[in-house]
């Protein structure tokens, strides 16, 4: 215990040293004033002291856990709360019901602002689910995911401003364009190993933004495309309130649709191949899985969702410009996937809602948002790489009826 204290004090001192120039000193070279913020030093010391104790405790727990799962062959002995809720129908059903009711009445009882925010959050839910396929299932770290989102948004913006094509026609086109770009960009980088892939996709994301910025004839450059119509409903003339409510329901359907499709794919030949690819590329190929097709499939399918909601994003904002498609957005979606648990659908939904809504409602928190994202990514990787809600292990049942028929 005493030793523990001593170590924490040392850590605190180290961090006081480390943060001293940046946290305590602030110079104004113009007026030649130095501001000494000694209080910050106190906070750093206290914070580092406490955190180092927590850190060590968490590390001990982590090591315990990993050695446990090595020795006993069942690590389901202590399922997390999330998993328990998901697996126990007694809790699961009413929770689902309440959620459904809240979801349905939400835009009717809150004001348009909250509904509008919720639409944005739902857009990020779909983005998270889409990236979850590429990163979580297939293990292809994509740092330029936002490029496909931009493809969708600009597809609608361009189709609409040049040829007056409407939302509903643009929606599938946006998705397909996303997928197409996914394949086009995926082809050259098939052979790249994980971390190279990450950097190249980061490059693609930046290139996409620069091209949009510079190619004025098509993308209208930095000026952006304005006056994009909101989603229509049989040519009905809607006020902004009803349009927002309508977009909200549309997004709810979209999320359900995404979950449905993703789930089906996850539990299929394709989904299993994606997971195998993530686990061990060489073994996967040696077992007869066509790497190129599988990778491209994962890439394109993830991109498809980004393209699809890109269209909705453009319709919701009615205005798009390149500034909405920066690396920060890619990082945001990635932290949603990481926080939610790679491969887990419920986890990703919760993470998206938390990460998007929290800064909106806790304005004071907004400033610290990116700081928190960064910390969350590090801490999750170290202490809970499986995410808040781990991917539930699927059990397959054999149908007794068909057993004979198959062996014949």
């Amino acid at each position: 215990m005493l030793d523990n204290m001593k170590r924490s004090i040392l850590v605190a001192l180290w961090f006081v040293f480390l943060t001293f120039p940046l946290m305590v000193v602030k110079v104004n070279t113009l007026k030649n004033i130095v501001e000494w913020r000694w209080m910050n030093m106190l906070w750093v010391a206290l914070g580092a002291f406490v955190l180092s104790i927590v850190w060590r405790w968490a590390m001990v727990r982590r090591d315990l856990k990993s050695s446990e799962s090595d020795s006993t062959d069942d690590d389901q002995a202590r399922p997390g709360i999330g998993q328990r809720i998901l697996e126990d129908p007694k809790i699961f059903k009413p929770v689902l019901l309440v959620l459904a009711v809240v979801t349905l009445v939400f835009p009717l009882v809150v004001d348009i602002y909250q509904a509008n925010i919720m639409v944005l959050a739902l857009i990020f839910v779909v983005l998270g689910l889409g990236l979850n396929i590429t990163v979580g299932l297939a293990g292809l770290l994509d740092l330029g995911y936002v490029a496909f989102f931009a493809v969708g948004a600009y597809t609608y913006g361009i189709l609409n401003s040049f040829w007056g094509i409407g939302f509903w026609t643009s929606l599938p086109i946006g998705g397909l364009m996303g997928a197409l770009f996914g394949i086009a960009l995926g082809f050259p980088i098939l052979r790249l190993r994980g971390d190279y892939l990450a950097i190249v996709t980061l490059g693609f994301g930046s290139i996409a933004k620069i091209v949009i910025e510079n190619w004025e004839e098509v993308f209208n450059g930095a000026k952006g495309i304005a006056g994009i119509p909101r989603p229509g409903l049989f040519g009905l003339d809607m006020t902004i309130e009803s349009a927002t409510t309508y977009t909200y329901y549309l997004m709810i359907l979209m999320v359900l649709f995404t979950i449905f499709i993703t789930n089906r794919l996850k539990d299929s030949r394709i989904g299993r191949a994606w997971m195998a690819l993530r686990e061990d590329e060489i073994a996967c190929v040696a077992m007869g899985v066509d790497m190129a097709r599988t990778k491209l499939g994962a890439y394109a399918f993830g991109a498809f969702w980004a393209g699809l909601v890109g269209v909705i994003f453009a319709a919701r904002n009615t205005y798009i410009n390149p500034n909405s498609f920066t690396f920060m957005e890619s990082a945001l979606v990635l932290s949603i996937v990481v926080l939610g648990g790679m491969g887990s659908i419920v986890g990703v939904i919760i993470a998206a809602l938390v990460l998007i809504l929290m800064p909106e409602y806790l304005r004071a928190f907004a400033e610290y948002r990116m700081l928190m994202f960064g910390a969350v990514m590090v801490l999750m990787m170290i202490f809970r790489p499986e995410g808040l809600i781990a991917n539930v292990r699927r059990k397959y049942t054999r149908s007794a009826v068909k057993t004979e028929g198959v062996n014949a």
Binding site: S69, D73, D74, D75, I261, R264, L265, S268, R269, I270, G271, R272, A273, M275, A276, E279, D280, I282, A283, C284, V285, A286, M287, G288, V289, D290, M291, G297, F301, R393, R394, K395, Y396, T397, R398, S399, K402, T403, V406, N407
Partner: protein
């Protein structure tokens, strides 16, 4: 009816260079139906590299790899991607076990069925009758294979949680799921205790006899090799130094020298 022996795999003068280093030097080898053939040699002799060349992980510098699938025409498979080699009908295991750790045991085997099923992305989304049937078949077949290697009770366990010997057997089941006519096993007995080795010995023979799958294996365990294989090839420093029946090999002076020179690896 006695089976007529028919060539399955025919390797002629296979050579593999890495930069200036010749890892495999003009090695020839044949495997026919119903055979268990072993490839032995001291560490670093180039056995695994040979395997990798045959299964498409490396593209050999020189030589021919010919496959004669039963009831199909002969193919030269140099430079084929590993998945195509597997689809033709040659499946392998790995020296340092390469399972899909965070997938269940059953799912590991189901991956082996990938190349024998056809569901596409659209098919998986629609989940039509044929998709469902395929899926069910995959599950059934995989359970059957798990039964054969004695892992059916671990079906829903994560692969990483299996004991070592079971992991090796799971790799064999996974390879068998691809419906091969030839199974390439890379040191299947490595790290096993004598009982496990014996069980493996029986399993390999059973696979040959009841599943009609020919086997080519790399192995260090001399007892296992001598017990079960019909023919043995010996490699040293990338070259083939001997071949023949276990009897021939046991008495071959070059082989003895090679092994003694290496402090009796077996």
């Amino acid at each position: 009816m006695p089976e007529t022996k028919k060539k399955l795999l025919e390797v002629k003068g296979l050579t593999m260079d890495f930069g200036g280093l010749r890892a495999v030097d003009a090695v020839s080898l044949e495997v026919s139906t119903g055979e268990i053939v072993a490839l032995i040699g001291p560490n670093g002799a180039g056995k695994t590299t040979f395997f990798n060349c045959v299964t498409g992980i490396y593209n050999p510098t020189k030589g021919e790899v010919l496959v004669h699938p039963p009831e199909k025409k002969t193919q030269r498979i140099n430079g084929f991607k590993p998945n195509r080699v597997t689809t033709i009908g040659m499946a392998r295991t790995f020296q340092n076990i390469r399972l899909f750790h965070n997938m269940t045991v059953l799912e590991n085997v189901m991956i082996g069925r990938h190349c024998r099923t056809t569901t596409s992305i659209v098919g998986a989304i629609m989940r039509g009758a044929s998709t469902k049937r395929q899926e069910q078949e995959t599950i059934e077949k995989s359970y059957e294979l798990l039964k054969k290697v004695g892992l059916v009770n671990f079906a829903d366990e994560f692969a990483k949680n299996l004991p070592y010997g079971a992991q090796r057997r799971l790799e064999i089941a996974r390879a068998m799921a691809t419906d091969p006519f030839l199974l390439l096993l890379d040191e299947p007995a490595a790290g096993m205790n004598p009982q496990e080795t014996k069980a493996l010995d029986e399993l390999i023979v059973r696979i040959r006899d009841t599943e009609k799958i020919a086997i080519l294996l790399i192995e260090h365990d001399m007892k296992l090799v001598m017990n079960i294989s019909e023919r043995i090839y010996v490699m040293e420093y990338g070259k083939e130094i001997a071949q023949g029946t276990p009897m021939d090999i046991r008495s071959n002076p070059r082989v003895i020298e090679a092994y003694l020179g290496e402090e009796a690896d077996a």
